[in-house]
């Protein structure tokens, strides 16, 4: 069973439907016990990081997420969920994240010609390290992004894939061991996105970078 963590940060319908489409058993939950009991955990999220972190803590979910990752449960963060796993985000005047991956979440520079902020749309994801999540997907395939901030892992060994936008090359997929995060939305990325989720639903949490 895959637990989709519900902490009031955005719409979970599309994540749930995409997993149901690939015939995964899913439960949308805000219960720490249910998250700890799950075989796999998806940590989605859309919106501002300050409010999201406050809600995670208020629901007692921050501890459960840390423990899930420490136990080796395959864990996939998506969009805001990808950003929260880092130590620190520039958003909302500076917010401490879960600190599961060393690194920060800076803002895209504003005012560059041809680079509107937030980035909205399909952009290329170039694989930097082999990973079970990428099986059957061509490096350079486009995925759907909506974001104004981006993950910046401190350790290059945690950069699994990269994307170019607004004069930056950023980690569109990052991870370590059983933890993987995508800045894009696999659930909105058509066939390649469903393939990535299917790979996650089969992943044993091994074979990631820096094992």
């Amino acid at each position: 069973m895959i637990a989709i963590v519900d902490y009031g940060a955005g719409n979970l319908t599309s994540v749930r439907l995409a997993l149901e489409r690939i015939a995964a058993r899913v439960a949308v939950t805000s219960e720490p016990a249910a998250i700890l009991a799950a075989e796999r955990v998806i940590f989605p999220g859309v919106g501002a990081i300050g409010a999201a972190m406050a809600r995670l803590k208020a629901a007692g979910l921050d501890g459960a997420l840390r423990e899930t990752v420490a136990r080796g449960t395959p864990f996939l963060g998506i969009c805001l969920g990808a950003q929260i796993v880092f130590e620190h985000s520039e958003e909302d005047g500076g917010v401490a994240g879960l600190g599961l991956l060393p690194g920060t979440v800076p803002a895209f520079p504003r005012g560059l010609p041809g680079a509107k902020i937030p980035q909205i749309g399909w952009n290329q994801v170039t694989f930097r390290l082999p990973h079970p999540l990428f099986e059957g997907i061509a490096s350079g395939a486009e995925f759907y992004f909506v974001h104004g901030y981006y993950p910046a892992p401190a350790d290059p060994a945690h950069v699994l894939a990269e994307t170019d936008y607004a004069g930056r090359t950023f980690a569109s997929v990052a991870g370590q061991d059983n933890l993987a995060v995508t800045q894009f939305h696999p659930e909105r990325s058509g066939r390649v996105g469903l393939k990535l989720l299917e790979n996650f639903a089969r992943w044993d949490g091994k074979g990631g970078a820096a094992c």
């Binding site: 955005g10 719409n11 995409a18 489409r21 980035q119 749309g121 952009n123 992004f145 909506v146 058509g190």
Partner: protein, 259 residues
């Protein structure tokens, strides 16, 4: 590189996709979910549904259609028509839409944009606008006036001023649907699309007038549009999304070519 998006538009009335010129003489094109799946398989990057029946008759949006679509396609789609409150937005988003599109109701109640953006994030809120050419440059410096209620009512609002106000209020994207070009197949309204794209900081979607792939190439190149809406040229069977994309990719426009 971020690709330019091609967005088929499905106008819905009584659970059927219809196509007309300037909202008139509509003919039925097909079932919305079947068409959505077909256009997805052809490689479209996003979809937009306008429930024109709901808007005209003051009914809520057809949520059953939104749910079925969300179970069948896994790319972003926006839904407009009949959305008059934050609660209406919530229903449509929970049914599986990525974005909601507001038009007439946003002109009547601009705070709807701000409230929606606060509740769901700017990326969920699309402003649709239907501008028409207006000669009085004193009142309409952009040369275009915003109309509402399916082009039937003028508002006295200048198109560029309204776009900038909507951006300030928090909308995340603007669809510029030219009344003059809509349904003609004679090409997009380049001047106005460019004016809005250059004077706002959010993505601009060109709409109305596409008749051939070169029209899309022109609006991407000359008007800085981030995305383009197509309807008639697909509904008529004259083109597939894939054929349009291949032609644009050959012309050097960044396109998502694997789907």
């Amino acid at each position: 590189m971020l690709t330019k998006r091609i967005i088929p538009c499905l106008d819905i009335r009584d659970r059927k996709v219809t196509k007309g010129v300037r909202f008139q003489n509509n003919v039925t094109v097909g079932d919305p979910v079947e068409l959505a799946v077909r256009y997805c398989e052809e490689g479209c990057d996003e979809l937009v549904f306008y429930d024109i029946g709901a808007s005209a008759e003051g009914r809520p949006t057809d949520l059953g259609m939104v749910r079925e679509t969300a179970q069948a396609v896994f790319i972003p789609f926006a839904v407009g028509g009949g959305i008059a409150s934050v609660d209406d937005m919530r229903q449509v988003l929970l049914a599986g839409a990525e974005k909601v599109s507001v038009n007439t109701q946003a002109v009547l109640h601009p705070e709807l944009i701000a409230e929606g953006a606060r509740e769901f994030g700017s990326q969920c809120i699309v402003l649709g606008m239907d501008p028409v050419r207006a000669d009085d440059r004193q009142q309409f410096p952009s040369g275009y006036e915003v109309t509402v209620r399916g082009f039937r009512q003028r508002t006295g609002l200048d198109a560029l001023a309204w776009a900038r106000r909507a951006e300030e209020l928090g909308c995340g994207e603007i669809v510029v649907n030219s009344v003059d070009a809509d349904g003609t197949g004679a090409g997009y309204e380049i001047e106005l699309t460019r004016l809005i794209a250059r004077h706002t900081g959010i993505p601009v979607v060109a709409s109305g007038g596409a008749g051939k792939p070169a029209d899309l190439a022109e609006v991407f190149r000359r008007a800085d549009a981030d995305a383009a809406i197509v309807a008639g040229m697909l509904h008529s069977g004259a083109y597939t999304v894939g054929a349009i994309k291949r032609e644009l990719a050959e012309a050097g426009i960044p396109m998502r070519m694997v789907w």
